[in-house]
Amino acid sequence: MSRDQDTPRRSWRPPAELVLPCTVAAVVLLGWEGTVRLTRNDLFPGPWEVVLGIVELIRKGLLLKYIVASLFRVTWGFFLAILVGVPLGLFLGWFRPAYQAFNPLIQILRPISPIAWIPLAILWFGVSDAAPVFLIFLSSVFPITVSATAAVQNLQPVYLRAASNFELGRMRLFRRVILPATLPQILTGIRIALGIAWLVVVAAEMIAVNSGLGYLIIDARNAGKRYDLVVAGMVVIGLIGLALDLVVRRLERFDEVSWGYGNR
């Protein structure tokens, strides 16, 4: 064995999970800038103009205001969906007749895009915060319900048998077995729902309200073809979506649920 292999090297190397995505980002930005220059397009902004656009939004105090407005709607719609979807899903999963009765209705409502509900939302709630909140609720309540239902139906029978062996009453059975056993799968449903909710809030704000990141995009286009601000809005939406996903992924590391995700 050569001495070279034995001595550990002291030099620091950046980890691949940092190098690879940064490389891709650099290539994309360069390609973007190059394309804009080659085509001499006046309307479509380059990366630097987008950065300036973001700075402009921050200076005017609009960016924070719109982010807060969008997050506010998502929070309301999303938590309402959890409040309704989790109990409903657990109920449908546990009581077979209820599942048989309501599942077809859910399966019909579920594939309707929340965007299709926009006219009805405006009709019922007017141009107010309630309309996008309703749309976000609609978009996230189904994935949450369906995942909670499936979680109960997929419960390992051995857990229920062990629980019945210890003669747990209904409340204890629910609190000590059913809820903890289904929590990992419910949390996965919640993560999917949050992604959808964020997609929908932007779409809803394009039509139903006059604030928020969706509104920013549509307004920047309508009020003077400010495509730098349009793309700036898109970038901010993407970054916040990523941040939301990271937050929920953090939750998946808690001991209460991490047992349910295999060896990650």
Binding site: Q156, V158, Y159, R161, A162, S164, N165, F166, E167, R172, R176, V177, P180, A181, L183, D255, E256, V257, W259, G260
Partner: protein, 300 residues
């Protein structure tokens, strides 16, 4: 050590008869009913009594019934360690599930402690082959699962006692997924014992473990049984396991299954697995199952 609920059983019943039984091979009964009155086992009152049990369920084909159990009779005395062996798929687990109250028989009677069984009961805890511990609870939380009816102040002491008994000290705060398969089964055994049941039903509890772990688990189970003197009804398809563990082995036939032989394993524990007496009991069970320990199936 804790006070034994059955002090008169402190001396294993099997020891009393070793002298008498080692003389000949006449110690086993081929009856499917209880044991003859002269049997020294009978110093314990009856714990489980199964009378004329039949079990069938609808088969894949419409309108037909699959007969699983036919005319099963058995008796287990308090403090006894009884193994049920039989070919796989013969209905051993079904039988144990009926006795445990998880399944209802088509016909017949199951009395436990003199009462008909009508569902699972916390005085009789079932130990599953695999996956019975709750993965969202730590070792100590799992073991404390059945302790909701004893005062909070006593729980820690009970949990500690059984953690030590099954040899899991130092792992109290671990989650099941951080443990090996054998350790998880230890958690389940401790969880069952902590609830202080009268009877343990064990359904191939070591079936998913590797050979060496299984060996160690059997030793420990015998040690625990000698300390706790719970009645144990243990289902396995492993003849060696049955002969190593049990005071009595019930051999089931093929489907529709019945108890076809009742073999006393009247040998002191820990058992010498090479002794003539041990090998003779083992051979007897092989023969009852229509096999020869020297290879091959003698009887179909």
């Amino acid at each position: 050590m804790k006070d034994l609920p059955w002090p008169f059983l402190r001396e294993p019943a099997t020891k009393l008869c070793t002298a008498q039984c080692s003389i000949g091979t006449s110690s086993h009964h081929t009856t499917t009913m209880g044991s003859p009155t002269a049997d020294p086992r009978e110093i314990g009152p009856l714990a489980i009594s199964v009378r004329d049990l039949w079990m069938s369920y609808p088969s894949q084909r419409q309108g037909e019934l699959t007969h699983v159990l036919e005319r099963v009779n058995l008796e287990v005395r308090e403090g006894e360690f009884v193994c049920i062996v039989g070919p796989s798929g013969c209905g051993k687990t079904t039988l144990l599930n009926i006795i445990g109250g998880f399944l209802r028989a088509s016909r017949g009677e199951v009395l436990v402690e003199g009462e008909p069984v009508d569902g699972p009961d916390r005085r009789r805890i079932f130990i599953f082959q695999e996956g019975g511990v709750f993965p969202w609870l730590t070792v100590r939380e799992n073991i404390g699962f059945g302790l909701d009816r004893i005062p909070r102040s006593e729980r820690d002491g009970v949990i500690r006692h059984y953690v030590e008994m099954v040899g899991l000290s130092g792992f109290e705060r671990s989650y099941p997924r951080e443990l090996s398969g054998g350790m998880r089964q230890r958690v389940e055994i401790a969880r069952a014992l902590a609830a202080n049941p009268e009877i343990l039903y064990m359904d191939e509890p070591f079936g998913a473990l590797d050979y060496i772990t299984r060996f160690k688990m059997r030793d420990d189970l015998v040690r625990i049984w000698e300390a706790e003197r719970k009645t144990i009804l243990f289902v396995t398809h492993d003849i060696d396991e049955a002969v190593q563990l049990a005071g009595r082995v019930l051999v089931m036939s093929r489907r529709p299954a019945t108890i076809q032989e009742d073999v006393d394993i009247d040998l002191p524990r820990p058992r010498d697995l090479n002794s003539a007496a041990y090998l003779q009991r083992r051979e007897q069970i092989f023969a009852a199952m229509g096999m020869s320990p020297h290879g091959g199936i003698v009887r179909e």
